[in-house]
Amino acid sequence: MSAPHTDHSSQPVLDSSSIHDVPANAAEIASHAVEYLKVGAALLVLTGVTVGLSYVDFGSRNMNIVVGMIVATIKAGLVAAIFMHLKGEKITIWRFLVMTGIFAAGLFFLTYLAHSDPISGTFHATH
């Protein structure tokens, strides 16, 4: 399950007056602000890195794509983990997100496989 400190919303609020008060974890949230700023900065830097790396020759176009995708995945991971609070998110959500990831990967991989493994002797007129 999740670590309690990232859980912003499940504090039981049982009488109507308390919903106007600053929640107990306000200090927590304030301390997160710094983290958000750092991540934002990291994302900006990584954007620069992506652009920069695309002008470096890694031997082949494909290698460049791989490198670019790795950096993009790191960035996406940061957004998901910190901004979207996936780090420490509830297990229920994790469960189906993992499924989604698997199916999306399956879609990519299997269509790729189908493309790369035709009957031998197949000729493609493409462009």
Binding site: P118, S120, A125
Partner: protein, 254 residues
């Protein structure tokens, strides 16, 4: 036997026997399952109807007969799959016979007819380009290419030689069609932009129907062709005659 009872069209190709065999095994397996399950079903329905069995039994079936049955089903399916299906397919797509052994013919679909393109005596297909396409030159054969000088094209009739493997290179000009020859137990979609080989070895002289097996428009239902499995001599005669019609100049040289 079961296949026969269900009225399967007779087989006319070499590998067709294995396809048929596998279908037969499948059908027996299905029949067996259906009969076993069905018997159990009928007995339950009869024996446990309310008037006969007024008080239900909380536990129902005890023991693990059903799990055993399920495991047996899995084993049989696995055998069918790994023992028959996968090797059979590999044979079809990996071991395509080569140039020397097989006859190569192109099958090009269009709304609503098949063009069968033979390389002719020289065994080389002429260059094609869409700019040359006209009603009388449906494949757009390049008139300046010498390799095309002896190529012949027949519409809706595929002539092949008995016992000689055929590699059909299937493609399409417009929409997706599919070559399906039920007697030969083969089928392949004809996809514009690709040319996919499809092979079989006919083993019976005769005339069989070729179906367009992919919806291709209003005329789809009537996009019927014939495959004529002939003896060598008959095929040669066909080739000669067609050539003299399509290339009067070249044909006379031969």
């Amino acid at each position: 036997m079961l296949n026969k009872w269900m009225g399967i069209v007779p087989n006319a190709s070499e590998h067709g026997r294995s396809v048929e065999h596998m279908l037969e095994v499948c059908h027996w397996f299905m029949l067996l399952l259906f009969v076993c399950w069905g018997t159990f079903f009928l007995i339950s329905v009869y024996k446990f109807r309310k008037s006969r069995h007024p008080k239900a039994d909380y536990h129902g079936v005890r023991g693990s007969a059903s799990s055993h049955a399920e495991v047996a089903v899995i084993l049989i399916e696995a055998t069918l799959l790994l023992g028959f299906a996968v090797p059979l397919w590999n044979k079809r797509v990996v071991d395509v016979p080569d140039q020397s052994e097989a006859m190569r013919i192109r099958a090009i679909g269009e709304q609503y007819a098949w063009n069968f393109h033979y390389a002719g005596p020289d065994g080389v297909f002429g260059r094609q380009n869409a700019i040359f396409v006209t009603p009388s030159n449906p494949l757009g054969l390049d008139p300046t290419d010498p390799a095309g000088g002896d190529d012949i094209v027949s519409k809706n009739e595929l002539h092949v030689i008995n016992q000689r493997p055929v590699v059909l290179e299937v493609s399409s000009k417009d929409v997706i069609h599919a070559v399906s020859i039920p007697h030969m137990r083969v089928a392949q979609d004809a996809i514009p932009g690709t040319r996919v080989p499809l092979w079989f070895r006919p083993i019976r002289v005769g005339k069989f129907e070729i179906v367009c097996a992919q919806l291709c428009g209003a005329g789809h239902f009537a996009m019927r062709s014939l495959i004529l499995v002939e003896k060598q001599e008959a095929f040669d005669a066909f080739q000669k005659e067609t050539m003299s019609m399509q290339h009067p100049a070249t044909a006379s040289v031969n």
